[in-house]
Symmetry: C2
Subunit: 524 residues, 2 copies
């Protein structure tokens, strides 16, 4: 049985049972056995995390940056083993996806987080010299991270965006591995622990548990010792955790589900329909469609160009190789959610059938409905079928299309394709106005699957895309704010202020709002 | 029966029943009858608010600022009538509290909000020129405001901090009046409606309902058409609303309860004990103690100076006139919460008895416990007795005092008094380290009751002081962020960007983070 990492020690779990990950390419279980921890493990991890949070009060952003830098370097030393393990557990291609894509994204993200921790601007230090009041975001306390199945590296519980943000904001992390890739998460935690020791981080800075009961998960996120939780995963499980955390008044940041509407206007189809068909198919089938921002709902206006577009993408979905899915669970959910749409009246264009029996997969699938069908039951028609599928919705008029958009739940993204000559402009304005308030990120002429790690990125959106529309899970420094609490100092004697709020800038780089103006300068 | 303001019209409510406010100075009901609205009123208000939110997409911050300015001016024209009504409904002194204090605070706050709306810096516009990604906080949608009983003007549902912040962030407001002062709220709503009409705001920009059933309140905050809710009031009612809003994924910002610990260290007592006794008594009895930041828990170290301090404040509480309380409900809660503390073993120093029968009031009360008693049952000992009372807790050692602080729930504020010679410095460090993570605002040598409207203010704190430790209810521009959603634009064509994100600055004053640097300049 593999060991958990608690209070700085790799030790035997207090396990109620065990589980194995599967190789998606063969459907066969991998050898390693991982423990399902009992509450005792959670409790010990919480105690160690709480002690680490106390110790971190005296650890500077510069020191945390050293840890994150050392960790990124340690990952690079062990990159081959991590990629090998992630490939075995997820079947993602080694070169193009893992080594060439997620791996550099992961280390870059950790280094951006290091830079943010060192600089301090993320914490929005604000100084009012007239009243003697100063405030800044400080550490919120131990953060529990539940990583998703679909990004074993870049969103991994002990390596990804939530982890990097929580640590950079000054918090210890309890990582709950995703059951699809516990071995990958373990390798990361080993690197993190070595880096933490080498850079003198407090014991319990990074801890790892592989799995708990649902009940213990809910207890974990609502425990007194927890500061906040980051969760990316299924809507059902996420809402259970949200309910528990909410009742305890503990912030929980969730990324739950999103169909990512893509409206393609007639002028755009006339101008470059074939090109857009290529873009759409690539975006929807990439990674076997297992992206939070997969384009799962395509909005079109009835007409000849739309018919041709649908024919073109249907052909592409027919011809494209069927990718491997991450798990039996993803395969099953994809099939059952597509069935929900079919039962609700969606017409089958291609797919919706089992594919190769020797691995986790399902045929590339396109379904089609009319906007009238959508409007008759908008909630059912927004069922997310996570994977290599999409629902095409054809409206009779721009008004009707706008009406469809106005009934959407919250989404991470929304895209609108329009022509360059301006014939779509009026329709664009109408649809964009509705879409803007339904999505976190509005795109033009571009599929939603690329999520740049940019300071201006919003990987977030209104419920149920996430739990709160004011926060982003991707993008540094923005993502750090989720793991900060606003700490105000009123009439506090100058020498007792944290360095970042003293008159003299601690580093000359941190941006501070001083009497209403942002500046990097010291005061006076 | 008084009329509600829905969809721009003062009209008869769909009422299930009616209620009257009371004059706290006489315990007698005031004449005016206010309706308890049924769901139909809520539903119509929601529909109008949703339509207003759509119309507001095309209303600029400059126009919203015009409305807020016009509203502030309108309030000043009607100040006398408002003060008169608020005095009748709350018994707060006209000159010192209402006309001289809350009134200018209210109009200043509205004008600060206007300036923030006009300028736009509150929305943290962020531009990444390399990736073509830009983001900014935009309106979250209709905001429901439940104002508290204790600030009829400055935190009033249709006039106070939440109202000003929600409007300045670009949202319509549905104000739910506090039942203690419906007439005051009505006068404000009349001013607001006139100002909204004069400045061309959409119909439904400001609406007023006086009261609903609890069930309809929960339905209101969780309705699809709502963007967010601001609530200040009792913990019990607030938690019910929170649960409903959380389940629907609707942000709700709550200010619930706080005992506002004040630690007074021995050196400070030796140095200026008499002065601090005066400060404490003034802060605790001001406004009959009806402040969110009332010092309700005083932490002391056993010793002769502490005994003298307790004697001094007991004498002051005995001598001080007994103020009037806001309502029969406040009077009853104060008595019953003090009884909880007494039942738990608190010793009576002074008060804890009925006072003048002709008005709402209760004797100025001080209770005392040991730190051991506190630690034996910290949750009960943190029972908030809202009003002119405080609980004195005496510890045997600094360690024990720090332990008391470490068991505190989240609070709005925490204060530490220490001497100027440095003899308290070690104790300060130990206690401040614990207190920092328990409170939104940490003060030195100053009572917590003053809450400056400063950009650096945090009138917030960890649960249960508020619902989320990252937000402040007071302070502009910070308070506006609660009513914004993060809106990202990815590859959106330049002419389609909102003005605040275009290369050219819309006004030359807005601070924008461009490629990591804050600037007021246009790009390129």
């Amino acid at each position: 049985m593999e060991k958990v990492l608690i209070a700085g020690q790799w030790r035997d779990a207090n396990a109620s049972s065990s589980f194995q990950a599967a190789n998606p390419s063969t459907r066969e279980l991998l050898e390693a056995q991982y423990p399902v921890s009992t509450w005792q493990d959670c409790d010990e991890a919480l105690t160690a995390a709480a002690a680490a949070a106390v110790a971190l009060r005296n650890v500077s952003g510069v020191q945390i940056a050293e840890f994150l830098e050392a960790y990124a370097a340690e990952i690079e030393v062990n990159a081959e083993a991590i990629v090998e393990m992630a490939h075995a557990e997820t079947a993602y291609p080694k070169e193009t996806r893992l080594a060439g894509g997620e791996m550099p994204r992961t280390t870059n993200q950790l280094r951006q987080a290091a830079a943010a921790a060192k600089d301090g601007s993320w914490a929005l230090p604000t100084i009012d010299t007239a009243t003697g009041i100063r405030s800044v975001y400080g550490a919120i306390g131990p953060v529990c991270v539940f990583g998703p199945n679909n990004f074993p590296l870049a969103f991994g519980s002990a390596s990804g965006g939530d982890f990097a943000a929580a640590i950079a904001a000054g918090n210890p992390v309890i990582a709950k591995a995703n059951s699809s890739h516990p071995g990958t998460t373990k390798l990361f935690a080993e690197c993190a622990q070595r880096a933490a020791e080498a850079t003198g981080m407090p014991t319990g800075m990074v801890q790892l548990i592989y799995r708990t009961s649902h009940e213990d998960g809910e207890r974990l996120v609502s425990d007194d010792r927890i500061g906040a939780t980051g969760y990316t995963g299924s809507r059902h499980a996420g809402l259970k955790l949200k309910q528990a955390a909410d009742l305890a008044g503990k912030p929980i940041y969730l990324e739950l589900s999103s169909v990512n509407p893509v409206a393609i206007l007639p002028g755009a189809l006339a101008e470059r329909g074939a090109e857009i068909a290529e873009e759409f198919s690539g975006s929807c089938l990439m990674g076997t469609g297992q992206f939070c921002t997969n384009p799962g709902l395509v909005l079109l206006l009835a007409g000849e160009a739309t018919n041709q577009f649908i024919e073109a993408i249907t052909a592409k979905f027919t011809e494209a190789p069927v990718g491997t899915l991450l798990s039996a669970g993803v395969e099953k959910s994809l099939a059952s959610n597509l069935q929900v749409l079919v039962d609700a009246g969606a017409e089958l264009l291609v797919g919706n059938s089992a594919a190769d029996q020797g691995r986790f997969c399902y045929a590339n699938t396109l379904l089609q409905i009319t906007a009238s069908q959508f409007l008759a039951d908008p909630i059912t028609m927004q069922t997310e079928a996570f994977g290599n599928s999409s629902l095409i919705c054809v409206a009779d008029s721009v008004d009707q299309l706008a009406q469809v958009v106005s009934t959407l739940e919250g989404n991470l993204t929304g895209c609108i394709y329009s022509d360059t000559a301006g014939s779509d402009d009026q329709a664009y304005d109408q649809i964009a106005s509705e879409m803007r308030v339904k999505v976190g990120r509005l795109l033009n002429d571009k599929m939603p699957t690329g999520v740049a790690v940019s300071a201006a990125m919003n990987h977030g959106g209104p419920f149920p895309a996430t739990g709160h529309p004011a926060f982003t899970a991707v993008g540094i420094p923005g993502a750090l704010l989720r793991f900060g609490m606003l700490q105000c100092y009123d009439n506090v004697r100058p020498h007792r202020l944290p360095c970042i709020l003293k008159d003299e800038s601690p580093n000359g780089t941190v941006w501070r709002s001083v009497d209403g103006a942002w500046t990097q300068a010291s005061i006076g």
